[in-house]
Symmetry: C2
Subunit: 344 residues, 2 copies
DNA sequence: GCAGTTAATGAATCGCATG
DNA sequence: CCATGCGATTCATTAACTG
């Protein structure tokens, strides 16, 4: 039986219907490499502008706030050391209610879906305390048949004292745009299980069937196996607190995680979208793997950190500022601008 | 912010309100060890009877059908070989709709919750395609604050050809009865990560904090570490097709999985409830670990297989037959009885 | 009737964990 | 080291409905 969720719906008092909004415009600021676009502004508004301009992406990776109820800050890092004096606002993860949080996210998911190529996919990175609500809502947006995978990212961290199992995983919900069409997918492999290796070495097995067509046994072949096809539970270390990879931006995701996702779900030259760009790990991996990118973040410092990381890879991303239709000033001077000039 | 789901509710046309039903009665059949009770009959009806008799359990493990849309069968196994000629009905996993499936399960969850000790917990073992709907519904039954863990069971299996990540995990949703009270919990440990072992060996680390109370570094201590506290992602092998552990019953769960759960969530002598008993793996582990058990299954062959497995451990479980109030015959003869007599 | 959609059936598959 | 069995796979095909 195909999983159909027709009729099952998540509701709450005052849940709004989606409705169109007027779009803003993008103003170019600096940079020369149009394969890497960083957009400073509200992501919902940016997604509307991008939709109107006809942009279509192979992969959208969304790493939104996790409903922690906290305001998250970032620290400057110089020579691998944090400088506490420069602690600044990164993003606000305080919400009036679970409903408000879900509404905000599902609106972005809905807008992002419009930007997917027919063979494209969306990956929503969340926490196992909210993933279930979001899965139900995303099933409503995409249709349950478009659900592809619940990817479990298993990491290791400093244990906390609790009368419960340590929470050591995040959840990545993957949806394809069109379930009828084979999605972009490159088969990756992981090492064989120890027991298989012990029994079979790295030789492929072949099923042996008898005259009546029933299988009787397996046999070893001369062919070497590349490993077992990659599963949906990924054991990847977090970015260690002292790692060189650290940017000082909170909730930074490891490059290995993004690399696996981008390699699996896109081809060389494909366009990747990240509406919650943060310190730009997605951008770094895209630059390294030859994928094009659009990253959006409402925080000026995030854009600056991402720009520096990309500059270190000899990339010069185009930077744009989103002008929303109701903004009075055409291109207001903002406080961060001076510091950016120094940085650039 | 504590996760509150007040106001968010899963609905569908015709979703029923829970309502009380008249209870049946249990009729004793055979067996002498009242620490192990096997009940043959509909589990919802059995849960009502148990509630009325005042039974309270420390752990309820529910392993319901996974919404596969198939009828599952079992085969006889003699000397580790399957005999195809004896293929028989095990359980029916065909449903009119997702709604019907959810309704059936959530009713059992609601009834099971009533049987939990204040410090007890319920674990619902499901599939990542339905886990999200069930989590939303269970949050409604228990309150979101009672949600303890999403446990991910990662296993290894034969890969299938698909343009997607191989699905290699199940989900176990754990809820505590009373979030205000410390639940039964025994801290288990797993081996340290390879990188930790390389740096620290098996010595415990101690956080070193400076005068201002901020942590500056860690130091090695003389104390040996028992490992890292057990996480919520469990890597446990499936029961191999040729393993001695195999019963011939479909969807059999490995003893290692139940052992970890039961050891963590119960003390010696505690009562465990399994309303979807199947071939009785929960019972085998309970008998081995000195826990008491109530297992319920509507399939006569399942009860028979479970009884045999327990007999092999020198246990003689009490077997009961549930008589529902609307049943005409007081204790009807059933076909399986003769074969059971031979077995017993 | 016929096209279109859905459900049931059959075939292919190879890594895993025993014995 | 070698033999063994198989699937809470997935994919393709056929059969059975529906309008």
């Amino acid at each position: 039986m195909a999983l159909s969720n027709a009729g099952v719906r998540l509701i709450w008092p005052g849940r709004p219907e989606p409705h169109p909004k007027s779009v803003g415009e993008l103003r170019h600021r600096r940079g020369s490499d149009a394969n890497l676009r960083l957009i400073h502004g509200d992501n919902a508004a940016a997604l509307r502008v991008l939709a109107q301009s006809g942009v279509r992406v192979a992969l959208a990776y969304l790493d939104p706030p996790f409903f922690t109820g906290r305001e998250h800050t970032l620290v400057e890092r110089r020579n691998g050391r944090t400088d506490e004096s420069t602690r600044a606002h990164a993003f606000d993860d305080r919400w009036d209610s679970l409903e408000a949080y879900l509404e905000s996210l599902v609106e972005r998911v809905r807008l992002t879906r419009e930007l997917l190529l027919p063979e494209g996919c969306l990956v929503l990175h969340v926490d196992p305390r909210t993933s279930h609500y979001l899965k139900v809502l995303c099933d409503e947006v995409f249709g349950a048949a478009s659900f592809a995978s619940e990817i479990v990212w298993r990491y290791r961290r400093w244990p906390s004292k609790t009368r419960n199992f340590q929470r050591v995983h995040d959840v990545l919900l993957r949806y394809v745009r069109d379930p009828e069409r084979p999605p972009r997918f490159r088969q990756l492999y992981e090492p064989l299980a120890a027991s298989t290796l012990a029994t079979w070495g790295n030789r492929k097995q072949r099923a042996v069937v008898d005259a009546s067509g029933r299988r009787v046994r397996s046999s070893k072949t001369a062919e070497a196996t590349p490993g077992t096809p990659l599963g949906d539970v990924w054991d990847i270390g977090i970015v260690a607190p002292v790692a060189k990879e650290r940017t000082g931006y909170p909730t930074q995701k490891p490059e290995a995680l993004l690399e696996r996702l981008i390699t699996s779900c896109t081809d060389l030259g494909d366009l990747v979208l990240d509406p919650y760009f943060g310190s730009g790990t997605t951008g770094v991996v895209c630059a390294r793997l030859g994928r094009r990118l659009i990253g959006v973040d409402s925080n000026r410092r995030a854009i600056t950190i991402a720009r520096r990381r990309l500059a270190a890879l000899d990339a010069d991303p185009v930077e744009e500022r989103l002008i929303e239709p109701d903004e009075a000033a055409p291109d207001e001077p903002d406080a961060a601008r001076a510091s950016l000039s120094r940085a650039g």
